[in-house]
Subunit: 208 residues, 3 copies
């Protein structure tokens, strides 16, 4: 069977979109928003990272505007929360964190890969992967008038950046895009989960 | 006389821009900003919705950057508030709400129409119309470090989405763009005003 | 020696980027963020103004995405703060204000010049210069969930707008781009510093 990198990436992207849509919608329910507000947050959380990346790398119009399956997936995630909220809120925190870390990894790898396709410098491509991963949550926090988690939270964006960098280094070393992507995603996921489990944090400047 | 859809749209767009510029400037005065801050809010409220839409659908550079009449209209709205604040603040709330609903309807229809022109999928085109309508007020609220009204407020974005959807359905049913636009705008305007009058709200997830 | 306007602009742009990166990182340290958060703020403050301008004028992908030296400069500014915080916090406020005013002037002139190169209307080009100058600080304030200084603070964006306008008028009067740029920057810098020294403020609408 022939391996199709594009389809794999697309599957990653939609899976990440779905996970982040559910998280955004949950934040909306917790903030006591009405149904429309919940859907706005599920769209913003699921799609903003990719939208910002596409605008920055010059992929115009952005993929999630051209392809209705992105909006449909974001909508589906919001609808799942609206109709199954009682079930979803009982999911244990560890599972939620694992899904979130998976979404972050998928988005970081998909974003970096896409930036490389657009012939963006590898250093900046890793930043674009990171923005893809953390952009949605940042917009969600801004809409809720909170300081974005990415500025405060332990090792989150750092994990996305590390995963993106590992992927780029692996490709430079001659590994295939698929293998490099899987390794990058594993690094991002593992780093994120271990940092939560071990309560790792980045140092503050005052502590240096 | 020959009917010119482009000119009609342009007139709608500038009227909406003027109404939203006045609203933005009023928010600035109420937040006790200086004159420049008031003008920034009038520009942001009047132009941000269209700017975001144009960036998303790939209309580059955005219309309000290419055409100085948009900035001039936004500036005029701000100047009207600065010089005539005493009069404007006496306008009854119902009239303000009606003008706002009219601006929302004009922007929703103009935004949806433009997205369709750029061959955006109809489902997403309706979302683009909604963003055009609510984007300015959302940026205004973000600048004032408030949770955007679109996440909380009764039936507002919902009205824009409904109007956009009605317009698209009408065009699919074979009605002319002009008639479809008028019907969509009427639906948006009526839904918004009736929801204010009747204190309609969307349900919350906890109440489902 | 042949004068090269492009290189001069590039030097201005990188100098402004460095100054703003340091300011952004300092804001991050003061807000008690971890190292990654500090770097995010240095990138956002240094690059957002130019990114927004480039997206708006249709320079796609934006210069700071295409050219790694922008990110590297922003990173350098952040790293300087992280490693030399003890020294930087002892810099007297007047010096900080002077550097900030210099960065504002450089960005306003560079932004206006670039917008003119993209054949943007002069009135809007001056606005683009202003956005280049104040955009980074605005995004920084939004990320920290504060009302942006540009809406409140004395004569800041006004100075950027005045400098941009002076540059455009000088070019219209037939002065060379270089001379016009220097005059515009001087106006912006002087207006900003004098307004700080004299505690000048723009009037509020209630006081008109």
């Amino acid at each position: 069977m022939k391996y199709d990198s594009g389809q794999l990436l697309f599957a990653c992207d939609l899976s990440g979109t779905f996970v982040f849509a559910i998280e955004g919608a949950m934040a909306g329910v917790i903030a006591n928003l009405d149904i429309f507000g919940v859907l706005v947050l599920s769209f913003a959380t699921a799609l903003a990272g990719g939208l910002i990346r596409d605008v920055l790398i010059g992929a115009s119009p952005p993929q999630s505007i051209r392809d209705w399956r992105y909006s449909a997936t974001a909508f589906l995630g919001g609808a799942v929360v609206i109709f199954l909220y009682q079930f979803i809120q009982r999911i244990p925190l560890t599972v939620v964190l694992a899904f979130d870390a998976a979404g972050l990894s998928l988005f970081a790898i998909a974003g970096t890969t896409k930036a490389l396709t657009f012939e963006i410098n590898p250093f900046i491509a890793a930043l674009m992967g990171t923005i893809t991963g953390v952009g949605g949550g940042t917009i969600r926090d801004l809409l809720l008038a909170r300081i974005p988690g990415v500025l405060r939270a332990d090792i989150y964006a750092t994990a996305a950046l590390a995963g993106s960098a590992v992927m780029i280094v692996c490709r430079r070393l001659g590994l295939s895009p698929a293998v490099s992507g899987v390794l990058g995603a594993l690094v991002c996921f593992t780093l994120r989960m271990v940092s939560v489990w071990r309560h790792w944090n980045l140092p503050k400047v005052s502590g240096l």
